[in-house]
């Protein structure tokens, strides 16, 4: 494997870890209003991801920055081409990010409602938009001989891209409900589990359709391969495991489903990074967008030093906050500041 190929794999992994981690907190953001029967329930749901979401979001920053450093041509064309979609994505992430911090800072129903709305909307929009973008990379966009995007905002909204977005949103919902079921007790746990069980079959069907569609786009026949079938089956397995109160295993299953889905998008894409619908020859590839060999070596050293440390303290953080929360904890005390 050359260094360029290694880095494509690494970027695929960074996006995958981002979706596995931030995916559940997107899901919690989307469903906290449904799963939490009252203010205490909603707060308990949000607090399951309280100490974690900010670190999870850094994976997005790092995935973007790594693309900038290693494949500047890809980063430049993608981020400028998806311009308005990214503006919307940033607005969603901003609204969602500050709603965590600010919703409890004033004890008024209307204040909390506003931030809850931003949290739900932002958590829904962010994976949808990123999904549309990832789908577009594979489906193809108008790109000219100078590797520049030549379309408009409307070219981004083609059916396959949108369906990729919907698939990721559905996965986030099941992943998030499973996480709440894993991290809470009592009423909240039951409500989250029921929602996960109800959402799982739909998500599995959506995922199956997505896999088949992806094959059609990539021109590899319609039959899903065993890895993709494993993804679909994991979602069903998750529902079954939750019913048995084995949320830890269920969460492992939704993690596998999410990881396989995101990885499969990148593996279908390879060795392209952005397909040109204008002419196949104009597609961006890992080779025509990559940085020089020296930069890749620097980045390899950097990631080899930093990633193990990051993974270690991230794992420790999840261990520190392993205890289940209960909505009762939040009923006793008024909104904390």
């Amino acid at each position: 494997m050359t260094l360029v190929e290694f880095w494509f794999l690494l970027i695929a992994i960074l996006w995958t870890v981002f979706f596995v981690l931030e995916g559940f907190d997107f899901g919690v953001g989307m469903v906290h209003g449904i799963v939490g029967a009252d203010e205490a329930g909603r707060r308990a749901a949000i607090n399951t991801i309280g100490p974690l979401w900010d670190g999870n979001e850094v994976w997005l920053v790092v995935a973007g920055a790594a693309m900038f450093a290693v494949f500047p041509g890809w980063y430049a064309t993608m981020f400028s081409g998806f311009y308005l979609a990214i503006v919307l994505l940033l607005a969603a992430l901003i609204g969602r990010g500050i709603s965590f911090e600010y919703r409890g800072k004033r004890d008024a129903e209307s204040w909390r409602r506003t931030w809850d709305g931003l949290l739900t909307g932002g958590s829904f929009l962010a994976p949808l938009l990123i999904g549309v973008a990832l789908g577009d990379l594979l489906h193809g966009l108008p790109i000219n001989a100078r590797l520049q995007y030549t379309g408009t905002f409307w070219n981004l909204l083609q059916p396959y891209g949108i369906f990729t977005g919907i698939t990721l949103v559905a996965l986030c919902i099941v992943h998030g409900c499973t996480f709440i079921a894993l991290k809470t007790t009592g009423d909240l746990r039951g409500r989250a589990a029921r929602l996960a069980i109800r959402a799982a079959p739909v998500t599995a069907a959506v995922l199956l359709a997505f896999v088949i569609w992806t094959h059609a786009i990539a021109g590899k026949g319609l039959l899903p391969n065993p890895v993709e079938i494993a993804g679909v089956l994991s979602i069903m397995a998750a529902a079954w495991l939750i019913r048995d109160d084995r949320e830890g295993w269920a969460f492992a299953a939704t993690t596998i489903a999410m990881a396989l889905t995101v990885l499969s998008i990148f593996s279908e894409l390879y060795p392209n990074v952005m397909v040109s619908s204008t002419r196949r020859a104009y597609s961006l590839t890992i080779h025509n967008t990559a940085s020089g060999a020296y930069s890749l070596r620097v980045m390899t050293v950097v990631i080899a030093i930093s990633l193990p440390v990051v993974l270690a303290y991230t794992a420790w953080t999840y261990y520190v906050f392993r205890r289940r929360l209960s909505d009762k904890d939040f009923r006793a005390q008024p909104t904390a500041h």
Binding site: V58, F71, V298, M299
Partner: protein, 463 residues
């Protein structure tokens, strides 16, 4: 038009971002100091102060983080020509910022906020120090990237593109070493001024000096020495920049002709890009020579001869930055810093006489000093970034060549309105919350005693 709008957007979003960054860095350190004081002698008011200023910190971090996300993406969105050209040099420090700094800062902030009743006192103290370390590393990597735009090093040109060939040179760029030190000191000053202003307000409203006397004294003790050091470092940075970006320094004095020795004017009328003979009022002889070259009779090459040199070297074009912005931004920065220094010295003098907590005139000034760091920080960045124009990377790439060709005028208008609304909204909410929480009394916390299993027994701050 597209170029101007893209520049305005980057300028406004980054200025807004940098309102929150130095408060975060500064308050992270000061909060860590307060918590260290509590760790050492367990006086309950130190714990209450830690929670009080920690809340202000957390309110700001949220905004700093989300506006930082915009900065990260804007390079690709609006400046794809730039990103394509320099990504293989500029991208590495940016990725390092994420890997070494953002993860550390975000993860340990989560642990700090939610870990009061889950971690031992010692480990919990460590988390706030790691947050402070993360915020400082973040400043280091982003300044490493920025300094490369001011003074590109460690590269060779291959097919018209700079290719990284010596990362050590990027890490030891003199503009970076001095610029980073300047920004860190400046952030400590910002945090200290904010803490000073909040404590002063509290004391004016008759809150107990037992509660807010300590942060008042702590902030003064941090403010004065660090501001003095900061002024020295800033002036050294000026000398370095005068060497690599002579236009920047000549423009900040509106010095159109070469001079030796060079005086510094306190105030002038005219002297902009179309007016080469400003009316200078109150000149201080030799001061510009000292500031720009560290020598009494140092020579400063004027803008007109520099323009001549640059045209010969880089082809026809206008290479003089906006003189008005340069001239006034350096003065706003320096004059406001001077006022803050006087305020700090006044405070120290009152402290020695043990009158500071009751000196109403001082406390009033100290409260209003809250706005000064933002003036200084913004002016400083205008000086640095506007002074680099018309280059986006000094001597390598012109700003107008860096803009995204695929982003239309309409796209930019839409994004400008969207960011405008979102940023105004969060700035207002942040300001309102900062003021509200600055005016609260110290939070009550149960007397600090070790809970079960050696934990602090203090309920975590929850969302």
């Amino acid at each position: 038009m597209t170029l101007d709008l893209a520049r305005w957007q980057f300028a406004l979003t980054s200025i807004n971002h940098f309102f929150f960054v130095p408060i975060t860095i500064g308050l992270a350190f000061l909060t860590a100091m307060l918590q260290t004081a509590w760790y050492r002698n367990e006086r309950p008011e130190y714990l209450r102060l830690t929670r009080f200023f920690g809340t202000l910190l957390v309110i700001n971090v949220a905004v700093g983080v989300v506006t930082g996300l915009v900065q990260e993406f804007e390079f690709g969105m609006n400046w794809s020509g730039y990103s394509r050209m320099v990504g293989n040099v500029f991208g590495a420090p940016l990725a390092m910022e994420g890997l070494f700094a953002f993860f550390l800062e975000s993860t340990f902030l989560g642990l700090w906020i939610f870990g009061w009743d889950k971690l031992s006192r010692r480990v919990h103290l460590l988390t706030i120090w790691l947050v402070a370390l993360g915020s400082i590393l973040s400043a280091a990597f982003i300044l490493m990237a920025n300094s490369w735009m001011q003074h590109p090093v460690g590269y060779q040109m291959v097919n018209g593109k700079p290719q990284l060939n010596d990362f050590l040179a990027v890490m030891t760029n003199p503009v970076f070493l001095w610029g980073f030190t300047h920004v860190v000191l400046d952030s400590l000053v910002t945090g200290a001024v904010v803490m000073l202003a909040v404590s002063a307000w509290q004391l004016r409203k008759g809150r107990s000096p037992d509660d807010f006397g300590y942060p008042l004294r702590l902030s003064l003790a941090v403010l004065v020495p660090f501001l003095l050091l900061d002024m020295f470092v800033g002036s050294e940075l000026g000398v370095i920049e005068a060497r690599y970006q002579p236009m920047k320094i000549a423009a900040s004095e509106a010095q159109w002709t070469t001079c030796r020795p060079c005086s510094f004017s306190l105030f002038q009328i005219g002297g902009g890009n179309n007016d080469h003979t400003p009316t200078q009022i109150i000149e201080i002889p030799h001061l510009l020579s000292l500031l720009a070259t560290n020598s009494w009779n140092g020579k400063v090459v004027g803008l007109s001869p520099l323009q001549h040199q640059y045209s010969a070297r880089y082809g026809p074009g206008y290479y003089v930055p906006d003189v008005f912005i340069q001239y006034w931004s350096i003065r706003v920065m320096a004059y406001v810093a001077g006022l803050v220094l006087l305020l700090g010295l006044w405070g120290l003098w009152l402290m020695r006489r043990k009158q500071v907590a009751a000196a109403h005139r001082f406390l009033w000034c100290a409260t209003w000093a809250a706005i000064t760091p933002f003036l200084m920080n913004t002016a400083g960045w205008l000086l640095t970034e506007s002074g680099r124009q018309p280059w986006v990377v000094q001597g390598i790439l012109l700003t107008r060549r860096g803009v995204s060709p695929s982003v239309s005028f309409t796209d930019l208008v839409i994004s400008m309105v969207a960011f405008g609304l979102v940023y105004t909204g969060i700035a207002v909410v942040d300001a309102v919350l900062m003021i509200r929480f600055s005016r609260r009394e110290l939070p009550a916390v149960p007397a600090a005693q070790a809970g079960p299993e050696g934990q602090s027994g203090i309920p975590a701050v929850q969302y």
